[in-house]
């Protein structure tokens, strides 16, 4: 109980920063719109590739959602690096606070932001003509999947931040991971049009799990087995990453 309370208090800390900084809020909320419009314009040509079927905005929306989720989540660890340099982290670790709450609170805040961004993308895509034949339920699954994937990468980012303690290391890590994982998935390209080795790699790529689950749920003829297994995998990954980030504090303290 105490752990949950503490988690929520840590989440609130992030939420307050978000609400109090109009510039930061503005960037967070405009980013999804820019991405959807830019990628939408750029990748419209995908639909003209022989073998592509379906409506491009329906196809692209889950891809953009997932791509934004990974890249937003990747920066979560910056908060911990600030806390370490500012003395906040040491004060927290000298208290009996549940270590899991420090990570979980920050991850939940990150996931909430990502889900808010997802809602914005979904609404804008609707304006641009997306049909969401999967209905409201399908859209909710897309939001959930974005949140889960974001949570996993936010924990990963936190863990790396606590271990490395350097902004540069985190920036390098995000750059190394986010784009390759996006391009090794069906986020922007239909599976049948990808080289076969990428198709193989994509099966083990969490970003792709989120893309296929979200896309299948949002369209008609949802493959619920596919959706359920991918959600299960993503949830397991999110928990594993959270355990890693929580353990990272022990490692950090050992080095003090």
């Amino acid at each position: 109980m105490t752990g949950l309370r503490q988690t929520w208090q840590v989440t609130l800390r992030g939420v307050r920063v978000f609400l109090r900084n109009p510039a930061y809020m503005g960037i967070t909320l405009t980013q999804p719109l820019i991405w959807l419009v830019l990628f939408g314009a750029l990748f419209k040509a995908v639909t003209r590739i022989p073998g592509f079927h379906g409506d491009y905005i329906d196809f692209l929306t889950p891809g953009i959602v997932v791509m934004l989720a990974v890249s937003s989540a990747g920066w979560t660890g910056m908060g911990f690096i600030e806390d370490i340099h500012g003395g906040v982290m040491d004060r927290q670790l000298a208290s009996p606070v549940w270590r899991g709450a420090l990570n979980a609170g920050s991850v939940i805040y990150a996931a909430l932001t990502i889900m808010l961004q997802t809602v914005l993308i979904v609404l804008l895509a609707l304006v641009l003509g997306a049909s969401y034949s999967g209905g409201v339920g399908g859209v909710l699954v897309l939001i959930l999947v974005a949140g889960l994937l974001g949570a996993a990468f936010a924990s990963l980012s936190n863990g790396v931040a606590v271990l490395a303690r350097q902004r540069e290391a985190l920036i390098g890590g995000v750059t190394m991971v986010v784009l390759p994982l996006t391009f090794l998935s069906t986020a922007l390209m239909q599976k049948s049009l990808m080289p076969s080795w990428i198709q193989t790699v994509a099966r083990f790529n969490p970003v792709n799990w989120a893309v296929v689950a979200g896309r299948s749920a949002a369209t008609a003829n949802t493959d619920w087995t596919l959706v359920a297994t991918r959600i299960g995998l993503l949830a397991a990954l999110a928990l594993t990453c959270a355990a890693f980030a929580t353990r990272a504090f022990t490692h950090y303290q050992r080095s003090l």
């Binding site: 309370r5 503490q6 840590v10 003395g87 004060r91 927290q92 000298a94 606070v97």
Partner: protein, 334 residues
């Protein structure tokens, strides 16, 4: 509970082989203020981190508030308050929010928490600024908030790691008053690290001088000063003839010990009043000109220089090295 802090033979080495604690032992009586003095890099902060469970020693034992820091770190965390060298508050949050979050971390909630937060704001003069972001606070205000956060759960032992570093003189004196008040009103044990002599002299009932990861001397400020047994005479030379001057003074009967620090001579005499004329006469006899001669009654500075400083090394070239040097020490074979 007789002893609030009991540390025995703490050792800690950081990779690649930097020794931070080299057999440090401390014993602090409950309800007292204990100061740990030492140059930068002496191991003060490492000692605080180990005693506050933030870090683990490689070997040695420590009990804080009667609880073993290695066996029950969470128990120790509940019993202590820690105010680090850096500001531990979140600048983007208000003072009140910082205090609330801190309370939640200690399991304090609801009405009890709100009451304690209001009391803390009031006590540390932050009520008017309670709902402003901490990044708008002055250094003194932020420091008072740090201490308020460290005290919110009413710890039995409080660690203050260089609490007044970076504060202006007025804020320092305010903080000193606050710390003294805490000891009296809250009957708390306070361990503070500092490199300001006046701070230790004013606040601490006992102090330990730490150098190179171990305690070099421990006692009451008065006792340590008495142990020095005599006055110190400082001679500022007009020329760079330090070695000659040292040789000259060593022949003076009233002088017990001499060292050179660049152009400054430090000499210890049982009775400074009679030694000064003898010193001047000896210098003149050797044709050495002195720019100034001053005499000091024993102060904590003298104690510090004697035990952790580099003044009596005969080697240190910069006066600042007296207080700050971390390397290249050579004990004088007196």
């Amino acid at each position: 509970m007789e002893r609030a802090i009991e540390a025995k033979d703490l050792r800690k080495t950081y990779p690649p082989g930097v020794t931070a604690l080299d057999g440090l032992s401390l014993s602090v009586e409950s309800g007292t203020i204990f100061a740990v003095l030492g140059p930068n890099g002496a191991g003060k902060s490492t000692a605080v981190r180990v005693l506050s469970t933030l870090s683990r020693p490689d070997s040695g034992t420590a009990r804080v508030a009667g609880i073993d820091v290695l066996g029950d770190p969470v128990g120790v965390r509940r019993a202590i308050g820690v105010v680090g060298q850096k500001h531990g508050s979140d600048g983007e949050a208000t003072g009140r929010e910082n205090l609330v979050l801190q309370g939640e971390f200690y399991g304090i909630t609801g009405r009890d928490l709100r009451r304690r937060v209001a009391e803390s704001l009031d006590r540390f003069g932050l009520t008017a600024a309670a709902d402003r972001k901490v990044k708008t606070y002055s250094g003194g205000m932020a420091r008072r908030l740090d201490i308020g956060m460290g005290l919110l759960h009413r710890p039995r032992v409080l660690f203050l790691d260089e609490p007044t570093t970076g504060l202006d003189p007025e804020a320092r004196v305010d903080l000193w008053r606050e710390i003294e008040r805490l000891r009296v009103e809250a009957e708390m044990t306070i361990l503070l690290t500092t490199h300001y002599m006046d701070e230790a002299d004013r606040l601490a009932s006992r102090l330990a001088i730490v150098d190179r990861g171990a305690v070099v001397v421990e006692g009451t400020p008065a006792g340590l000063k008495d142990d020095l047994d005599g006055d110190t005479i400082h001679v500022e030379l007009a020329g760079p003839d330090g070695a000659d001057a040292r040789a000259a003074l060593e022949l003076v009967g009233e002088i017990d010990e001499v060292s050179v620090d660049g152009r400054t001579l430090h000499a210890r005499a049982r009775d400074g009043g009679t030694a000064v004329p003898a010193v001047l006469a000896a210098l003149e006899a050797h044709g050495i000109r002195a720019a100034s001669v001053t005499m000091a009654r024993p102060s904590l500075d003298e104690v510090y220089l004697r035990h952790a400083g580099r003044a009596f090394s005969g080697k240190g070239a910069q006066p600042e090295a007296l207080r700050m040097a971390t390397t290249d020490r050579e004990e004088v074979a007196a």
